[in-house]
Symmetry: C2
Subunit: 650 residues, 2 copies
């Protein structure tokens, strides 16, 4: 018998050689029907594979990222089986799972595949799926594997085999299709109930444009038709909410070839949003006891050697400029400058925690192929701060930062989020991570404890820490369910020592502070990109670049329009008059398209009685109000940063 | 007879060969006693030199910069005469006038000069000055000049002669001292009534450290003892108000070798001032119809070739960074980025004037020897904006900008200022200035007309324009009378065309807008440096980093202190509690040193009655008030941006 430990800590005994699937069946048939794979001692395995020793076990279903991943990788095999059926002689390269689906690269020889061929392929896949063919795992020697693909005349798989060693090679077979594959896979094809092939593209073999162009076929699959339908609806909605499209239509940002790739220029409407976000951050941080600073965008090479950015972060930095015989770098992070401000005046324990905040602009080199709208850029305006504290203060400070995240989530209507605790990897100490094994353990434990104590949902990920300490990446989901990695919260036990930062402790001894790096609103670039999708461009009033448009029904009421506009501006409301000589219907339609929250229609009656006829974007007529009453109402909505609009946008 | 044209346009006839001094005498003996030199056809001459043809004439006195300059240069000769009397055989190099005085570089051989020797020198100078020795001009041939200094065995003057041509060499002699000199000089030494030798320093011959170290002797002189006394008082006050000293004491800014020279890091207290200034600018600009933008700090080389910054401004730019095979530059001005935002959406006459504002951060290369505190830096946060307008709109827009300057001057208690209209120089078209002679004339006239119509005091200066058009430099004087060049207001007829900026005019034709570049608050660096001196660090309440310090007279009242502090913070007042275990006297003294405007002393009586005992920095006790009353009072003072404190600081 072997001992199996479950995630809740329970231990049960089973026969040696039992599979995860059998264990699931022993619990309930219903559960077994959902099991896609299993995590055995932290490794993802086929659910049908035998377990021969005491192990920890987690059954993986569709709700686990690893479960989805396995599902989609198996779907790629199913797609390959269908392609081979319809395009005999096709050769396959690799077919991985993606964040949202899968693809397979293939060599169709002289044949072409077009959009209209996808329907037939989907049909074939559905047909094969219904056969409930098992994914069979087979360990195989390298000579046998070579012989198999030699016979198949498959140069691509032979090329893959070159990099593999005897003893680590496995084949997977479902139905009539066999592939060289590390696995794992789902139990059988019957799990795949809904299939959509989404795209055909070209892809150079091994990504090298000197090589042959292969056909890359993309697809996505689900355990039910309902989930596929929802996914397709989400994609359609995401297209409408595309931040690049909305960003242009609403005058939020622009880019220019003469300025350079990935360098956003914020237009007047985007700048209003920036300033409202900064106002929110400043208010919040002032209340939380932060002090603000402003630092330059460059510094000498030596500072980045001290900080460790050179060499650990060098690939993400811009190349240096040489001035007066010294090398200056554009900053990629604000921390070293903040450390210098910390060090500018002597500190005692009375000064700690010392919290320095700056909406700092940093420059990071990203490959031009990776740049994407506001999501991947080279110039980032970051909601940055550094908290210098004692070990005793760490828990409270780290928790306060987490609370600040949650406060912001509420304001922006973010109700789904996950925190990823990124840990170091011991084998990369001194390469990717500062070489302090004990401090890594200690700080990782501290962070884990705070998260556990605060009941915040989190997952742990190895080998994704910052070079100076563990970090939390915050992943949020937009109103249409898309995932964004937004913000980080990092612990740093390294730079305080590198920069010789000190404070005088109670016992008069010099101590090094711990440093928390945090950026709850992330960067303006990514966060405003997220907000464009979140609100579909229909910003809540407090964020809307123009909050009120005044629409006189004819030229006769332009003067009253100006009076109304002046009154609103005096109350700090962003208002404009539509003074064009257009019909009121067209004025309303145009304003709706610009997604301006409020329209005030004014004519004879409104002018004579000092009133306004109020329309809400997307909701229509709200009736006639005294101008003063409207001003009070909208001022309250702005002051409360009400996101009532979010419901309407959904 | 010749015709002499005076500055007011009047023309009078005089005998050929008459001197400016004689003309002054013919007007009044009192005037003649003040004439130091004369501007004849735009060239500064000895007042005693003969005028032989029809000329324009301006008599120069102490109130003219050229008059002062001549006075101080003549004082350098007087000093040299005194040095030669006390140190026979001394050799002189050059002795120019400075902005505030003069110096002479000299080779004393084996002798040394020390501080205590200056009194004897001053005495000698006074003695020589009283002789009323005339400064006699003598045109001399190069061989004769060489012979003179050969006989004197003066290698320095012989070296200077090498660079001069026959026909342009003049000697000046006063009393027993003769010098090779271009002139001009004041009529006689008797004008120099008050003398102060200020400093002795070493200076390498020709500024080259491989050469011999000469002695540089500094002095300053005045036409009356009263003016010297005032000057010395101002220097003493300037020392107390030194922005570098106050900047450190008050935690305003810091610099660090690892970051780099001329790169200011704004500490928490300085950042409060930055944010208050930006708030003022944003409010003012919003009301004036500006839109705000945010742009990156770098752009590709090509953009700066289009703008003309390369080559016209290349010397002031940082060297390029090469990314993806292209050269990127740190921006030295914000204009090109703003032009790109203008161009991002099509414009019609209805969109103009289009005003884009940004507190933009620019980088300018200054020689490290030129860097000085906040006054000469390499990273500048500029109160920048660009106004795109039609020719018809230019007058109103340019005047509105001037009015904005005056509004700011009032807020900051700047009651003395001069605008310098900087014009191009026709012989540098195509070299230093864009080659558009007609447009230069036209725009210079437009600007001159606005200034004249607005009754703004201004002087005209040739060859100091921006490369793209005429500009106004605004010079202001601090509370102790020191001059600062603060801000500029520039016209640009060139970049609109280079960037192909357009708007559709009434007649549907595409037109190029005129551009006004303006920066009324200059840069944070220079303006905050100015304000430190202006207020002697005693900022008015709205600008003060900490507005109120709460001083409990003993630990018993700490809780009430916190209550008071919370109440103030809720009212957006920057308050701190002095919770140290110190005597109240020490707490008051320490707070006075930090120049915090208000102190609230609290004890038993205050706590029981909900009151505070108010002290004003530098003024003492203002009596006991209800806390609510104090909050209202200080809120009003903050809202009004009252600069009452200025009077107290003077």
């Amino acid at each position: 018998m072997i001992n199996i430990t479950f995630p809740d800590g329970a231990v049960r005994q089973y026969e040696k050689g039992i599979s995860a699937l059998d264990i699931a069946k022993s619990i309930s048939e219903g559960l077994a029907r959902k099991v896609l794979a299993a995590s055995v001692n932290g490794q993802v395995w086929d659910a049908s594979r035998s377990i021969n020793e005491d192990s920890s076990l987690k059954l993986l279903t569709w709700t686990d990222p690893e479960g989805k991943n396995t599902f989609w990788h198996s779907s790629a095999h199913l797609m390959a089986e269908a392609v081979e059926a319809l395009y005999p002689g096709v050769k396959f390269w690799v077919g991985p799972a993606l964040d949202n689906g899968f693809y397979y690269d293939m060599d169709l020889g002289d044949r072409k595949m077009a959009e209209e061929d996808l329907l037939a392929l989907e049909k074939k896949m559905n047909e094969l799926a219904k056969k409930n063919s098992e994914y069979k795992r087979q360990e195989i020697s390298k000579p046998e594997a070579i012989q198999y693909f030699n016979e198949k005349n498959d140069a691509y798989k032979l090329d893959l085999l070159q990099g593999l060693f005897d003893g680590e090679i496995t084949f997977y077979t479902q139905g009539g299709f066999t592939d060289l594959c590390r696995g794992p896979h789902i139990p059988h094809t019957g799990f795949i109930k809904a299939i959509k092939l989404t795209n055909i593209a070209g892809a150079y073999w091994k990504g090298d444009e000197k090589n042959k162009m292969l056909t890359r076929l993309y697809g996505v699959t689900f355990p039910s038709q309902k989930e596929l339908d929802e996914h397709l609806l989400m994609l359609e909605e995401a297209k409408k909410r595309d931040h690049r499209k909305l960003g242009k239509e609403l005058g939020i940002y622009t880019m220019d070839d003469d300025v350079g790739q990935g360098l956003i220029m914020w237009m007047p409407n985007g700048t209003v949003i920036i300033e409202e976000l900064e106002k929110l951050a400043k208010e919040t941080e002032l209340e939380a006891g932060y002090k603000r600073v402003v630092t330059p965008h460059i510094a000498k090479e030596n500072m980045y050697i001290t900080s460790g950015h050179l060499p650990y972060y060098a690939d993400s930095m811009y190349p240096p400029m040489e001035i007066d015989g010294e090398r200056y770098y554009l900053k990629s992070m604000n921390c070293p400058h903040h450390h210098k401000i910390y060090a500018a005046e002597p500190k005692s324990y009375r000064d700690l925690p010392y919290r320095l905040a700056e909406y700092g602009t940093v420059y990071r080199y990203e490959q031009s192929g990776e740049l994407f709208g506001l999501m991947r850029v080279r110039c980032l305006h970051m909601n940055d701060a550094h908290i210098y504290c004692t070990k005793e203060q760490f828990n409270d400070e780290f928790r306060a930062v987490n609370d600040m995240y949650l406060k912001y989530f509420k304001i922006f209507g973010i109700d789904k989020y996950v925190m990823r605790l990124s840990l170091h990897s011991p084998d990369k100490l001194g390469i990717k991570y500062v070489n302090e094994p004990e401090l890594w353990k200690e700080t990782e434990t501290m962070v884990r404890n705070v998260l556990t104590e605060s009941n915040i949902p989190f997952v742990e990920v190895k080998d994704e820490a910052a070079f100076y300490g563990p970090k939390i990446d915050v992943q949020i989901y937009s109103a249409i369910g898309r995932e964004f990695t937004l913000a980080t919260n990092q612990v740093d036990f390294s730079q305080g020592r590198s920069f010789k930062l000190e404070y005088t402790a109670h016992d008069n001894k010099a101590e090094t502070p711990l440093i928390i790096h945090r950026a709850p609103l992330g960067t303006h670039e990514r966060f405003i990109g997220f907000l464009l999708e979140q609100y579909a461009g229909k910003f809540p009033v407090w964020l809307a670049p123009i909050q009120v448009k005044i629409l006189p029904i004819s030229d006769k009421f332009q003067d009253y329009g100006k009076t109304v506009s002046q009154k609103l501006k005096k109350a700090d409301i962003r208002a404009e008059v539509d003074d064009r000589n257009e019909k009121i219907g067209k004025k309303i339609r145009d304003t709706e398209l610009l997604k301006i929250p409020y329209m005030l229609v004014i004519g004879e009656k409104e002018m004579n009685e000092g009133k306004v006829a109020v329309r809400r974007q997307g909701k229509g007529d709200l009736g006639v109000m005294d101008l003063d009453e409207f001003v009070e109402k909208i001022k309250t909505e702005i002051r409360d940063r009400s996101s009532e609009e979010l419901a309407a946008a959904k």
